[in-house]
Point group: C2
Chain length 248, copies 2
């Protein structure tokens, strides 16, 4: 999908102790970023992982992350690292939480700031980049063993997502730009692991006035074609200004 920069020679920090970190020396010491990227693919919640081919976790799966440059804001670092490792760019990354258990990282103290984003998995082709031999989507319910404390980050992120999706209209980011109401319903069912009533779900969503009809229908389905909608973010802004609060 996009080209991958590779301008960071793998130098080792002077005070690294046992296993070299391959941490370039223009980065902040002892502080890293990890990205938890959620995707939705055919109604299944996915998480983006990369396989390390250098460093203390060589050969293991991990969240795409790395180190922060001296002159780089945190979110910019998260975006750069994600692109370098997976080829994915232009996501709306938000901070999740900072993880800093003393022994979370081998041999050194490294605190990591986790960021998250939600995307329609179908739109993103992953390309392994610097220091990674592979990058792919995994089903959130069936993840491989992860490096360091990354499973803890994922668990925290999943709980956070389940909570967040009920209180803010972020779920829409998991869908393609144009979607049907059933896709939206299936999204909620996938994340919350519940079964919802179709007519009631429709009405609830429609009443919020956050869906703009595309005046377009599904194509190539073996049944009546559904109307396509977009999430109307301008309408959402207007409503929140007036005190509206999204509650699913």
């Amino acid at each position: 999908m996009c080209t991958v920069a590779n301008n960071n020679p793998s130098t080792t920090r002077p005070h690294s102790r046992v296993e070299p970190l391959n941490e370039p020396d223009n980065v902040l010491p002892g502080l890293s970023i990890d990205n938890l990227i959620f995707g939705l693919d055919h109604g299944q919640l996915k998480i983006m992982l990369v396989k390390h081919n250098v460093g203390p976790g060589k050969g293991k799966w991990a969240l795409p992350g790395g180190f922060i440059k001296q002159n780089e804001n945190l979110r910019d670092a998260a975006a750069r690292l994600l692109e370098e490792l997976t080829g994915v760019r232009d996501l709306y990354l938000e901070q999740l939480k900072t993880f800093g258990r003393v022994d979370r990282f081998p041999n050194e103290r490294v605190v990591t700031i986790a960021y998250y984003a939600l995307v329609s998995a179908e739109n993103y082709t992953l390309v392994a980049g610097r220091n990674t031999s592979d990058a792919m989507w995994f089903d959130a319910k069936d993840l491989p063993e992860l490096i360091y404390d990354h499973s803890e980050i994922v668990d925290h992120g999943l709980n956070f997502l389940r909570h967040k999706v009920c209180h803010e209209p972020i779920g829409f980011n998991l869908l393609p730009e144009k979607f049907t109401l059933l896709q939206l319903q299936e999204l909620y069912e996938a994340i919350l692991d519940v079964k919802l009533d179709k007519p009631n779900f429709r009405r609830k969503m429609m009443k919020m006035n956050l869906l703009a009809p595309c005046n377009e229908k599904q194509k190539g389905v073996p049944h009546r074609a559904a109307n396509l909608y977009r999430f109307d973010s301008a309408a959402y802004e207007r409503l929140t200004d007036k005190g509206f609060s999204f509650e699913f």
Copy 2:
């Protein structure tokens, strides 16, 4: 309220550049913690601040914070710093967000992890500690100028609190152990800056089954004495296990 440890000599890091940080050298470089402590005092939302008497912000008010030791988990560091600077201990500190703008700190790159807690301000006497000349509560609506990006942290924290208090029963932490329904209502009114209907508020709260009556009444009030209640955290656990979700 409690004694203050003072066992950290004010050494200066070798690579500090212009204004010395007084950062002891057994701490993580470039990473700090700041505590945003909310209190409620006579129906007013307060925030705990300290006045720096050393370092780049000498003479200015700040959130109580400092540096993390090599062998210290993040929350432990937050708790230790809070006690060292204000004498306050045993709070339930939770992570708020990490702030890392490149230029948030003068002359050096320092990323700070913000923690927050909610307490009944009346229960805590503040005692200035190491490196601080003063520690006191300020009205959240009338704060002095703050050091670095601490105003940004406070703004973020206030928004977070307003949101959180509607979705989780954390507001109770701002009250004394035994409280009346009117105190609880005034708390919500103070945080959300709204006026609520007394009868409806009562019923809403009572129906949640989260308040345990103390079988005790207010004393020394010039009117009918109200019943006192405690927040029943065991009941809350039981309810959440069954899928109950606190929504105010």
